[in-house]
């Protein structure tokens, strides 16, 4: 094949030059480290097997823990008898709720989940007891000897059942987690006055993160400090939650992140950390290990919310959108997790990149006895994009209009308001969209196929995504830069690298700002005892937030280094430049000091040689009635995808022939890693669109393993052509925005749009498996 897989650096650079807006503030001159595809600092360890992940910290001489899970989706606990289990040779301890010294409660937004259940279980993954034994085998055997006296309660497995007046209450306050509303203009009236109205109901599925590195780690309490080594996504928040649940002062708890094999939102909720902590507190001085099996990981961990979206869209004859009325029913599963934030993200992104003057949105989050649902890459916006793009396709058909033209006509432009009423100063939806249309040669697309039973389709999607937590939720990153006596630039941040490439992002920004080669930077990450809090690795926020904090800290440190060099060399400080690890006078380069010399001189003169950076741009809470917020998010990300595929009308199989993804990342700190994020996000989007589905029956996951939970392989993912656009964002480091979630969000809708184009009938229930596509063809 002659088509490029993705763009080489040169190609990217050439194009970036063309697409970048010339903005005076960003004419920083040629950069030496930022914008370069430096090799990953952690790659050699990973490629040789030397890198230690959670499960690699085990040793046979440590104790092993196992967790007893609920036998029912919904039941009262009348009593727990661990007598027989405790007597089993090799068992060291059995913990129940009575052994959890603190509140015994956790939960990211609402503390509604017990560490070890005392009175009630609400789903099959609920934890009832923890066994600690000399070996894992003994711990497993002991689990079976724990007698739990349950009184099964009727389980609530669908949202319809949960909302019935006489439905059993899953939580004391009822089965509704909460509501989100958005009122903008008069949508019902505008809908009545619209020339054309389309409406549909779309059901998305439960999706699993399926990261490869199963939850595993170890903990030890030495009497002074409880140290937990487990991968998470926000160590400092985990520390707060664990400290509260276990009744431990914050300063007695240290969390260290081992290397992490993927997260995708799946490590946001507390997992094994809290059981390990409780067990370690009870068994002072003992190192305790715990790992999940694949099925336990799948059964316990939260999932992507299945959402039923009822979407009604009205337009004028010329295609101008006038109204949208949208209702989301969100199956929360058993616990709140981050659900309310996911619901808000669904409502604030309800019309995506499209300008609609009248929008009414209602979101209802409903508890069931299914798996709790929470964060996963896309966070409510992924399901929403499938709905709005699906409706745009339906509208184009009804209007007899080209679907690209309809979209282009309604896209948000710089200075327009999005659904929340927030003005987006720099919108590049049109630029991204035009780039993919040009690349796929939209006007000349061909529907000729090799055989009559094969139908070709073309799909397009556009993403507009609010970055960060938004809506006034405190969102800050901190970083510290320090020059060591041997002239190494250390960068400290509590942010977690979960595989996305945060280590390089941080190191490259610091190197660029201070003026040192990348190999002179030592990033020190994710250890609550050493690193300042940098928020979560989620919401596509780390480049923008932690990248900025590092940029600020590095800039502060650089000023100090320049001061030291200037006073030692007796030169003017504004004539001192630091380049390649050497400070020199720009007019007299022979007047120079290496960083090692600066460190020596600076220390003598009493300089701290370190600086802190904090980045905390404000957002504003939404009006709870109208969902409006002048500053719902710090900034927005734009992207666009195009997909060409073939549908086999005899089998319903879909084969993606060509995939193009364009994302405006502001500035690619490391272009190669940006492309990796785009391609990885698209691959996960392919999984969500075509194959991945957690099947639940009676509150039980029927496919808790990779044999039945189907993930994309190398054969399912085509070459993904990436277009990296760089229109700098004033708030990001060197203009960078972020790229984590938008590639996934764009993929599902582009594929579904292409299937609709090929077969002429929409797929209303995800994923679009061969069977569903085949049935859609039959019904057509």
């Amino acid at each position: 094949m002659s088509r490029p897989t993705d763009d080489t650096l040169e190609e990217s650079a050439a194009r970036l030059h063309v697409t970048s807006k010339s903005s005076g503030a960003y004419e920083t001159g040629p950069m030496k480290v930022v914008g370069k595809s430096a090799l990953r600092l952690d790659a050699v360890g990973k490629a040789t097997g030397a890198t230690k992940y959670g499960q690699d910290l085990f040793d046979k001489k440590f104790l092993f823990a196992k967790v007893l899970r609920s036998a029912h989706p919904h039941a009262e606990i009348l009593g727990i008898d661990a007598g027989a289990a405790k007597k089993l040779p090799g068992v060291v301890a059995v913990l129940t709720h009575k052994d959890v010294p603190g509140t015994n409660l956790h939960g990211l937004i609402r503390r509604d989940q017990e560490v070890l259940c005392s009175k009630k279980v609400r789903y099959r993954g609920d934890a009832v007891a923890v066994v600690v034994a000399k070996t894992e085998e003994i711990a497993v055997a002991a689990l079976e000897k724990i007698q739990v006296d349950y009184r099964p309660l009727p389980s609530v497995l669908t949202m319809e059942d949960a909302l019935k007046v006489d439905a059993p209450k899953i939580h004391a306050e009822g089965n509704v987690l909460g509501e989100k509303h958005l009122r903008r203009g008069d949508a019902p009236r505008a809908m009545r006055e619209a020339d054309v109205v389309v409406e549909d109901t779309i059901q998305t599925q439960t999706v699993d993160h399926a990261f490869l590195d199963l939850e595993a780690g170890r903990a030890r309490y030495d009497g002074k400090m409880l140290t937990i080594e487990v991968s998470g996504q926000w160590l400092h928040e985990e520390r707060r939650l664990i400290a509260l649940a276990l009744g431990l002062p914050l300063e007695k708890l240290r969390i260290i992140q081992p290397a992490t094999g993927g997260a995708f939102g799946g490590r946001e909720d507390i997992s094994i950390q809290i059981y390990l902590g409780a067990a370690a507190l009870k068994l002072k001085g003992k190192m305790i290990c715990l790992r999940y099996s694949r099925s336990e990981s799948t059964i316990v961990r939260h999932k992507r919310h299945p959402i039923r979206v009822h979407y009604k869209l009205g337009a004028k004859k010329d295609g101008t959108l006038v109204a949208a009325q949208i209702t989301f029913y969100v199956d929360k599963g058993a616990y709140a997790s981050t659900g309310i934030a996911v619901m808000r993200k669904a409502s604030s992104h309800a019309t995506g990149p499209y300008k609609v003057p009248n929008v009414w949105v209602d979101v209802l989050g409903v508890f069931t006895n299914n798996n709790p649902c929470g964060a996963m890459r896309g966070f409510g916006a992924a399901q929403t994009a499938i709905a709005y793009e699906g409706l745009m396709d339906r509208l184009a058909t009804k209007l007899g209009m080209d679907k690209a033209e309809l979209r282009r006509k309604n896209l948000v432009k710089s200075g327009d308001e999005v659904t929340t009423g927030q003005v987006v100063p720099y919108a590049t939806a049109v630029e991204c969209f035009d780039a993919v249309l040009k690349r796929i040669d939209w006007k000349n697309r061909s529907y000729e196929t090799p055989a009559p039973h094969l139908k070709r389709g073309y799909g397009i999607s556009i993403v507009c995504f609010g970055l960060g937590y938004g809506d006034g939720f405190p969102d800050a990153s901190r970083a510290r830069c320090r020059l060591t006596p041997d002239g190494i630039l250390e960068v400290y941040s509590g942010a977690c690298d979960v595989g996305q490439g945060l280590i390089n992002m941080i190191a490259q920004i610091a190197a660029e700002e201070v003026g040192v080669p990348l190999e002179k930077v030592r990033p020190i990450l994710s250890d609550t005892a050493l690193t300042p809090e940098s928020g979560s690795s989620s919401a596509t926020r780390q480049t923008y937030f932690t990248g900025s904090a590092v940029h600020i800290a590095a800039s502060e440190l650089k000023k100090q280094l320049q001061d030291i060099a200037a006073s030692h060399l007796q030169e003017l400080v504004y004539e001192i430049k630091i380049e390649n690890g050497v400070a020199f006078n720009i007019h007299r380069p022979e007047k120079r000091l290496t960083l090692k010399e600066i460190a020596r001189v600076g220390k003598k003169r009493g300089f701290s040689l370190e600086a802190m950076g904090v980045y905390k741009p404000p957002t504003m809470p939404e009006n709870t009635q109208t969902g409006q917020s002048m500053r719902a998010f710090v900034t927005y990300l734009f992207g666009s995808h195009a997909c060409q595929l073939l549908v086999d009308t005899e089998t319903g199989e879909v084969k993606i022939e060509r995939y193009i993804a364009c994302h405006d990342v502001g500035k690619a700190i490391n272009p190669d890693q940006v492309i990796g994020q785009i391609q990885g996000g698209v691959a996960q989007g392919i999984g969500m669109a075509l194959m991945e589905e957690v099947v639940m029956k009676d509150g039980k996951i029927m496919n808790p393993g990779f044999t039945d939970y189907i993930l994309p392989t190398i054969r399912d993912v085509p070459e993904i052509e990436c277009i990296v656009m760089e229109n700098p964002d004033p708030g990001g480091p060197f203009g960078a925005r972020g790229v984590g979630e938008p590639p996934l969000i764009g993929t599902g809708p582009a594929i579904l749009s292409a299937i609709y184009d090929a077969i002429g009938t929409p797929i209303r229930e995800l994923p679009a498996t061969p069977e569903r596509v085949w049935r859609a063809l039959l019904d057509h």
Partner: protein, 171 residues
């Protein structure tokens, strides 16, 4: 050694095992039900071999057994008797990375890195048997491995570049 449990199970009797691991002879005793994966990781401390799905679907635990990629999570340790086993730790020779490892690093094919050892060994087996694989042969050789981060594009590129370089060296 730990005391046998009172209820005598088959696991309490150890089997002797002799095989070649990364070029060195190993002679030991193992519980007959222990997987090769657990044996390598827990008994020998070779943690480069990763367990992820633990049911033979994802290839993270690949080791080469007589040159063939095998899911070590599905293989019992005694099945390695008299075999020649290579793990990711045995791939670099004299501290010099194998060309496939180097290409994975150079091409950005390593992200979270958890699938990387298994994929590198899959590629090693493929390229040892088929020095100039077609695109289809690559897909056949690599489709037993799941990667959740990269979208596979860079992995494929790394393998193709490694094949080119290995081909050049042979001339």
């Amino acid at each position: 050694m730990k005391k046998p449990a009172k209820t005598k199970t088959i696991t309490s009797a150890l089997w002797s095992l002799r095989f070649k691991l990364n070029g060195k002879k190993v002679s030991t005793k193992v519980p007959p039900t222990q997987t090769l994966l657990d044996f390598l990781r827990l008994e020998l401390g070779l943690t480069g071999t990763k367990g992820a799905c633990l049911e033979g679907e994802c290839g993270s635990c690949y080791v080469l057994v007589d040159g063939k990629p095998m899911n070590s999570c599905l293989m019992l340790a005694p099945q390695a008797q008299d075999c020649n086993v290579t793990t990711i730790e045995g791939l670099a020779q004299n501290k010099k990375l194998d060309v496939i490892q180097q290409k994975f690093i150079d091409c950005g094919a390593v992200q979270c890195g958890y699938c990387t050892p298994g994929l590198i060994l899959a590629a090693k087996a493929l390229l040892t048997e088929t020095p100039h694989p077609t695109r289809e042969e690559f897909l056949v050789g690599m489709e037993g491995n799941i990667c959740r981060c990269t979208g596979y594009n860079k992995i494929l590129r790394a393998c193709e570049q490694a094949a080119d370089e290995m081909g050049l060296k042979k001339k």
